[in-house]
């Protein structure tokens, strides 16, 4: 029968005593009571760590029988502290340029379309640490509407908040551009696919999605 060797250190060059080590375990032998407490604590910590890793794994994993079974449990554990979502540019990389354009309707009638995306992109140029204000706000506000019924409007409380948020974003931007006293606002998005790699110079058609006029509370 092999007896496990006790933990010993390989011979090393002498390490100068580091005062910062004052918090390291000093090597005092623990009495059985404390040793049991340490073991129990270590088991608890390891269990918690493993449980957390399992929850993170399930949160990342695609729908499965296990996940369907533990759906609520996973959500409860993960949100909002440990949110996961690592599908950056995958499975399909973004291959469409979207331009969000807005116009307002006031006393002078309808304004011209303002291309908010082009303005944001202009601010991004030459800046590797882009502001959330230019990189995310308008883009994510539009993304937030995906899956929603853009013609009929919100169907539940979550969607109502998303619509209100998007309207606030667009209203705020138009006010920054000097438009005031308008009571309606319209959003359209012009989408153009990146030309395929084997025909780089092909001109892709522009598809436009026009949303209905939204009322703006002023």
């Amino acid at each position: 029968m092999t007896v496990p060797p006790p933990v010993t250190d390989r011979p090393t060059a002498p390490v100068p005593a580091d005062p910062a080590e004052r918090l390291a375990p000093g090597g005092t032998s623990l009495r059985p009571r404390y040793r049991r407490a340490l073991t129990a604590g270590a088991v608890a910590v390891v269990s918690l760590a493993l449980y957390h890793c399992a929850m993170v794994f399930l949160a990342i994993a695609p729908p499965s029988t296990v996940k369907n079974h533990a759906y609520r449990q996973v959500d409860w554990w993960i949100y909002p502290w440990f949110e996961q979502g690592w599908k950056m540019f995958a499975p399909e990389p973004v291959a469409t340029n979207r331009a969000v354009e807005v116009r307002v309707y006031g006393a002078d009638g309808a304004s011209r379309w303002e291309n908010l995306t082009a303005m944001d992109d202009a601010r991004i140029r030459g800046d590797v640490m882009t502001s959330r204000q230019h990189a995310n706000v308008v883009r994510r506000a539009w993304d937030g509407l995906s899956g929603l019924d853009l013609r009929k409007g919100p169907r539940n409380a979550h969607e109502r908040i998303k619509f209100r948020y998007t309207r606030n974003v667009m209203t705020g931007r138009m006010e920054q551009l000097g438009y005031h006293d308008f009571d309606r606002l319209q959003v359209r998005v012009r989408m153009q696919k990146v030309p395929p790699f084997d025909d780089m110079n092909a001109v892709q058609p522009v598809r436009t999605v026009v949303l209905p006029w939204w009322k703006v509370r002023t």
Partner: protein, 381 residues
Amino acid sequence: MTVRALAGAGRGELESLAGRLTDFFRLLTLRPLALYSAAAIRIGVGGLFALYLIRELPYADLLWGPHSPWTPQLADEWLQLYGWPDWVEFLYSPLITTDVRLFYALYGAAVVIALLYMVGWHTRVTGALHTLCVMAFFTRSWQLTDGGDMAIMLITFYAAFTASGRRWSLDARRARRRAETHGPADYRLLPGTGEQAEELRRRAVTFVHNAALGVMAAQMMMIYCAAALVKVMGPKWQDGTALYYILHISWLQPFPALSEWLAGPGHLVPLAVMAYVTVFSQLFFPLAVFNRTVKYCWLVVMCGTHLGIIVTMGVFQFSVIMLIGDLVFLPDSFWRRAAYYTRVLFAARGERPAPPPSGSGPPLPVPAPADGAAGEKLASY
């Protein structure tokens, strides 16, 4: 007879395995791993968040403040939909305020806390406060967030449980000075506790530190592996044209001329190679870190791709926080060796700095003979 012999032989193996496992866990209570990396992660996490907030200062009010399109009222209604208990809501809602002055006061406090955490001033306290700050910004305007914010939140949370103040911090400097003037003091966090309780506390802290590093490492592996597995499913990653398309996306072009040149004619082969390197380096990352040689090669590749993403696509926060997270895989021996090579590089002519101690860390503490039990073995830990 043969079965009994097999069982007898196997018992030895099993007992040896169990013994090695016990020793491993005992080691984890005695030796904090990767203290330099933990400190580097603390500096990175605090510094990155302070930089982030300072950079966003011109737009702070519009992003998280009372004048955000995600109005305090919307944020509040959104929180209500989750139906969390009051104290949880309180934790997530400090920034939900209509008072501009209060908002900027909190904003300034968050910057100060991040900087104090970075320099390691009362690290445990500032670490916990910093984590709450990051959370408050994350939940105040969740629709601004992207992968970078999520990763910042995760790494910050795990880092708060590590003993990140032991190296490269004001705490460590203060301890060193105190030791120089007063000699090695009997340092007790809770005055009046017995030696046994103090030792128990130290070992518990060490174990939690090691566990937090382990969870952080597992998180990094899962991020990389998940990102790669989803990419593998996409036809454009399979045929190696994914980067061509990404480089043509307007909001990912800090330098359009560079993007155009990279995605230009004649560069499809290098772009395909880059795409495959990206996918495979991420996919096999969880395996690569278990081998010392392969690990360093892998980390160099990951570093390269992250830096490339910053320059070509302007994805700053995400790349930097992943670089910081990768540090968790660097042991203390790496930092000692790096410091040694730096000293050699800058040493005066003819001078030769002492080589770093070999081995994976400082020697384990030698057990002091406990009262009455002289000559007790380390196995009694």
